[in-house]
């Protein structure tokens, strides 16, 4: 029995570390995007690498959580749900990594009249993801509270959608952007950053169902 308890403690640690990494990655993502739009490309690259590092570490943690849950036959009734959750959370962090990668490769031009909107968009998406982390922690300890966080997630995702649309409209209406390809480039990044929130919202909706199943 003590060894089973040790395993339980280890996996609780792994899950907590996984969520902590996601939470940190969201913060770093926001800092990185800010650096990019402020023109500090060197510092942006540092942040991008940090996000990638956290993504790699979470991949490793995900593998370990999966193996432990199945080989040690833990939480047989909720195992599928927990794994589903971890897998989809991976997708969320994957979006963040993809955005910083693309920014680093494509280096889109920064237009002053769009700068604030991009920063606000990032802020709203990051809030969505950070609230998702709260919801995940509640799922493990206090599933009744998950729905409160999910409501906040819906709110921030909706905000992100509004800002995304604003950026797209401004980009396509603006005379400052003369080339069509640059307008499309702006649209692309607005959509990508907003996808971070969309993915988080998808996970939140699954989580809500898992929490109902788990609540007494």
């Amino acid at each position: 029995m003590p060894s089973v308890f040790k395993q339980a403690r280890a996996i609780v640690g792994d899950i907590e570390k996984y969520l902590e990494n996601l939470d940190n990655a969201a913060d770093i993502f926001e800092l990185g995007i800010n650096e990019y739009f402020q023109g500090n490309l060197e510092r942006f690259e540092e942040r991008a690498q940090e996000v990638q590092k956290l993504e790699t570490e979470n991949d490793r943690l995900r593998g370990r959580i999966k193996t432990t849950l199945y080989t040690d036959l833990l939480i047989p009734d909720a195992r599928g749900d927990v794994l589903g959750l971890i897998e989809t959370l991976d997708g969320v962090l994957g979006v963040a990594e993809h955005v910083v990668d693309q920014l680093s490769i494509e280096k889109p031009l920064v237009y002053d009249f769009l700068k604030d909107d991009f920063i606000r968009l990032t802020e709203a998406t990051v809030k969505t993801v950070k609230e998702l982390v709260v919801a995940c922690r509640d799922f493990f300890r206090d599933p009744v509270k998950v729905k409160d966080s999910v409501a906040k997630i819906h709110f921030w995702e909706h905000e992100a959608d509004k800002i995304e649309e604003r950026i797209k409209r401004k980009a396509f209406e603006a005379e400052e952007i003369t080339e069509f390809s640059r307008k499309v480039h702006m649209r692309y990044f607005a959509e990508r950053i907003s996808l971070f929130a969309d993915e988080a919202e998808d996970v939140a909706e699954r989580l809500e169902v898992y929490a109902i199943k788990r609540a007494l």
Binding site: M1, V4, F5, A8, I11, V12, I15, L73, L74, I75, P76, D77, A78, V82, F139, F140, R141, D142, V144, K213, R214, L216
Partner: protein, 352 residues
């Protein structure tokens, strides 16, 4: 001794069937959801059923004795066989059935055949308990549910730790449930033989390593307990998986609640020391009556369902249970009457 074993065979068969079916009421969800391994469940179940039967089995058995004091071995054999056969045909016909109710019907069949007046006092006590036991389990389960929910809201245990504690609880509660099952239901298996084996006078008291002494009744119950254990090991796995996956669909935490509620009820209706304790303080005591563990479990599931707000409850199951209260004893009484007639007139055995 061999003759006794042959006559006891019908009771041992009832024991086997009890182990195969009723152990699943206690362990079904634990094993079905893979929270507890079957081997662990079978070992703990057999051991505690045996202990419960030997230590606390006499009370409920005494009540069955009040209903019909079958003093001839052939009579006891036939009554147990009739009960077993009734359970078999009703199971085949997919009717809800409980061994407790079949045994009572079979004894009434014997009463009618031997023209012994039926003890209506005892019969009312027994039938009242049948109705009362699932209701009481429902109440216990609902109260336990509120208590557990209250605690879980405050303690906020991580899902993984909760899983760890629930596994331990399932084994501990399962052990208690098995003890209560043995104590309460051994009367169904061996109760009808008590009087006749004592009358035959072939068994004496046995000393257990000079630590304790087993009375003739306790030896009978130990034998029945072993038969139950064989039933658990040979056939209950399949039933546990069916109960755990298809019928109740409980999550492990609710399983602990339902099994604990049901075990408490079986314990209350079997514990002589509790009865003496209550009577000594002029409090109303629980009658010691063998009840149906399946119906008690269903009561518990409904209790939790009501506590959750009363959605998703299949009320038709209640109708099926209450029809069983009448149908099972009736069928068993008829089977018993016919069987006694055959054993007496074809095999020339004295049955009363």
């Amino acid at each position: 001794m061999l003759v006794i074993l042959i006559f006891l065979s019908s009771g041992l068969f009832l024991g086997w069937s009890l182990g195969a079916n009723d152990a699943a009421n206690v362990w079904g969800t634990a094993v079905g959801t893979k929270m507890v391994r079957f081997k662990t469940a079978a070992l703990v179940a057999s051991l505690f059923i045996l202990i419960g039967a030997v230590v606390s089995g006499t009370g409920a058995s005494h009540t069955l004795g009040e209903l019909g004091n079958i003093s001839m071995l052939a009579g006891a054999f036939t009554v147990a066989l009739a009960a077993a056969f009734s359970v078999y045909i009703m199971t085949k016909a997919a009717l809800p059935v409980s061994t407790s109710q079949a045994v009572v019907g079979a004894i009434i069949g014997w009463n009618l055949f031997s023209r012994t007046p039926i003890n209506f006092g005892a019969l009312t006590k027994i039938m009242g308990t049948w109705i009362f036991s699932p209701v009481l389990t429902a109440v216990f389960a609902a109260l336990l549910f509120f208590l557990v929910r209250f605690i879980m809201k405050r303690v906020r245990v991580h899902l993984i730790y909760q899983d760890f504690f629930v596994r331990i609880l399932l084994i501990v509660v399962g052990a208690f449930g098995s003890y209560s099952l043995g104590a309460n239901n051994i009367a169904n298996v061996m109760g009808v033989f008590v009087s006749s084996v004592e009358t035959a006078g072939v068994m004496g008291r046995v000393s257990l390593f000079s630590l304790a002494e087993l009375t003739v009744t306790q030896q009978l119950f130990a034998l029945g307990g072993l038969a139950i254990g064989v039933g658990v090991f040979t056939y209950s796995r399949k039933v546990m998986l069916t109960v755990g996956k298809d019928i109740y669909q409980l999550n492990p935490v609710t399983a602990v609640i339902v099994v604990l509620a049901s075990s408490l009820v079986l314990f209350l209706f079997a514990s002589q020391s509790l009865q003496e304790f209550l009577l000594a303080r002029n409090l109303p005591a629980f009658p010691l009556v063998p009840v149906s563990s399946s119906q008690s479990i269903v009561g518990g599931v409904i209790g939790v369902g009501l506590a959750k707000g009363g959605k998703n409850i299949n009320y038709r199951i209640l109708g099926r249970i209450s029809s069983g209260w009448i149908m099972t004893p009736l069928i068993a009484a008829v089977v018993s009457f016919v069987a006694l007639f055959i054993v007496q007139n074809v095999f020339a055995q004295v049955v009363f």
